[in-house]
């Protein structure tokens, strides 16, 4: 067990510490929850990470856990741990909007498998988090409901699309949250908020109850303050599920068991094609420092090649939008969601309900995907993108013949300003350059804080991304933990309000 710092506030406890103390009756689930609710009441007016807080229900659930513990039961490895859920994860009887007007009023009629497993492990859902509409965005600014702010700098974006879950954990509202990652939507906001984010191997976690965006890459994963907590959380939600035919039957194993082992001699692949000039000055300095830290931890750096890195964004925005255009066809005003009041025939009902319900970025992506799949353009766009993707898969497979893991910066810059990229969709897309390859190829990947932009004077967090072979989550966690020890990061956001000019 990690040591607990003297005088730590209850809301600062790690997931592991909370579960251990609740299980041993040192502290009750209700006391933990009250501490997190009080912390949330303090920070939420600053960051707006939640669309809804389940205060009454969470109190009932915590009290029920305490009764079970008093009766001698063990609620499980997440006993009494308050968790927040991105608003695209279904929890029976609760509103679910995906950050979209088109789902205003929708109530989830069942619970996602991942969420069911959290409940079965003793977790206490505290609320649902803001997100970019249908998980489309890198700043959380595409939510139809509210802007979420970065806890380190209230004038900066929290990243996206899981901006709410990342901001909630960074601000100390909850020690653990869950998001979805289609092209970087867990890792990028985790990086920008200075916390740990995990995108598991494609198929590792059931997507039953997750609203679909791009089905060939969507994965659910945890966001936490430490690598150990994220490993524990993934252990709970991972594993086969008959309700998701694409969910892998590969055994899960224990991610915590070997996590403290050192990484001496482990070969860490460094992608030759990463151009430090494409990073901000601070990110470039930090990237070099991260490589030095990996060496300091005993790893051996080896050069690997990913010539298609520069094609990743283009491939991603063809493949993901094509799939989105098909997945989002279900929002037609007939079965659920917004129905236009003005249509008097079925065809107009489709056009009007969709046009009124979807926001600009979702429409833009549906349009792009429809174009890429349309007659006459399919081969040149969708077909071409799939071909380049397969080449990328082969390149990464070759890299993993020599390297145990492959690292990149998670993002090319620290958090950018609110409003900075909203009018330039392509500039927004380019912030996903390093996260999209692992999504396209389906690799397990973690974003770990790698220090802050102190030299650039903004103090904003930066992050290292570690990718592994399919289903090699345990290795990825072990490298991440070794790196985390070297960095000595503490999640202590400053909630700074003044704008600080500097390197982005």
């Amino acid at each position: 067990m990690p040591e607990m710092s003297e005088g730590a506030e209850i809301w600062e406890l790690s997931v592991e510490e909370i579960a251990a103390k609740v299980r041993s009756r040192e502290i009750s689930a209700s006391e933990i929850l009250e501490a997190c609710l009080a912390r949330t009441a303090r920070v939420e007016p600053l960051i707006s990470a939640y669309l809804e807080i389940f205060e009454v229900e969470a109190r009932e659930r915590a009290a029920a856990l305490d009764r079970r513990i008093a009766a001698g039961e063990d609620p499980g490895p997440l006993a009494g741990v308050p968790v927040a859920l991105k608003d695209n994860l279904s929890l029976d009887g609760h509103a679910l909007t995906c950050g979209s007007r088109i789902l205003a009023g929708y109530v989830a009629p069942f619970t996602a498998t991942a969420v069911e497993r959290l409940l079965a492990a003793g977790a206490v859902p505290l609320g649902r988090n803001n997100m970019d509409e249908f998980a489309m965005g890198s700043s959380c600014e595409n939510s139809a409901y509210q802007l979420t702010r970065n806890p380190w700098d209230l004038g900066a974006v929290p990243g996206g699309s899981s901006g709410g879950p990342a901001a909630a954990v960074a601000a100390g509202s909850v020690p653990l949250s869950f998001g979805s990652d289609t092209g970087g939507s867990i890792r990028q906001p985790a990086a920008l908020c200075g916390v740990v984010g995990v995108k598991p191997t494609y198929g590792r976690v059931s997507r039953y109850g997750l609203v679909a965006f791009a089905s060939s890459t969507d994965q659910i994963g945890p966001i936490a303050r430490t690598v150990r907590d994220s490993a524990l959380a993934l252990e709970v939600i991972a594993g086969a599920d008959p309700r998701d035919a694409t969910c892998a039957t590969e055994p899960v194993g224990s991610y915590l068991a070997g996590i403290e082992q050192d990484i001496s001699g482990l070969k860490v692949g460094v992608i030759r094609e990463i151009d430090p000039k494409a990073l901000s000055a601070a990110a470039a300095r930090n990237w070099q420092q991260s490589l030095d830290r990996l060496t300091g931890a005993g790893a051996e750096l080896v050069e690997v090649s990913l010539p298609s890195l520069d094609a990743a964004i283009a491939v991603y925005y063809v493949v993901a939008t094509s799939e989105a255009s098909a997945n989002l066809a279900r929002f037609d005003g007939v079965r659920y969601g917004h129905r236009s009041a003005k249509a008097d025939n079925l065809t107009d009902l489709y056009f009007d309900s969709r046009s009124e319900g979807f926001g600009p970025e979702v429409k833009r992506r549906i349009m792009l995907g429809t174009f890429a799949l349309s007659s006459g353009y399919y081969d040149a766009y969708y077909g071409r993108a799939r071909g380049v993707l397969e080449h990328m898969r082969a390149e990464l497979a070759t890299a993993f013949e020599t390297a145990g893991v492959v690292v990149t910066p998670t993002t090319p810059t620290a958090a950018f300003r609110l409003g900075e990229k909203v009018d330039d969709p392509l500039a927004m897309y380019l912030s996903d350059i390093f996260t999209t390859p692992a999504s396209l190829v389906g690799l397990p990947t973690i974003a770990v804080p790698s220090g802050s932009d102190n030299a650039g004077d903004t103090g904003l967090p930066l992050s290292l991304q570690i990718m592994g072979r399919p289903f090699a989550e345990a290795t990825v966690f072990r490298v991440a933990r070794a790196f985390e020890r070297e960095v000595g990061w503490s999640v202590a956001p400053t909630f700074r309000e003044a704008r600080v000019a500097g390197d982005h």
Binding site: Y336, N345, R364
Partner: protein, 95 residues
């Protein structure tokens, strides 16, 4: 390729989306820029998928109870006697 205003109108009809003329123009500019960027894919090497490799093994189909009708219909914008209610099927569709 240079994406045109006419292309955008045609795609919008396929996607069952309606835009105002101003929105169409703005979208044409934005999509044209994105499609230009995507055109760089022509310069990258491609490969065929390795169909022999083991992907995620799909589970066998099994019958199981589905969502109860009343729970499903609770989210429907309009229903009648246990069925979804929609307006007249004929007509419409003019952008």
């Amino acid at each position: 390729m240079a994406l045109t205003h006419e292309d955008v109108k045609k795609i919008a009809a396929l996607a069952r989306l309606r835009f105002t003329p101003e929105e169409e123009l703005r979208l044409t500019g934005q999509l044209a820029k994105i499609v230009d960027y995507i055109d760089q894919l022509q310069a990258f090497e491609t490969a065929e998928p390795d169909l022999g490799s083991r992907g995620v093994e799909e589970a066998a189909d099994q019958t199981a109870p589905c969502l109860p009708r009343e729970k499903f219909l609770a989210n429907a914008p309009a229903s009648l006697d246990g069925f979804l209610l929609v307006p007249e099927v004929k007509g419409g569709g003019d952008a």
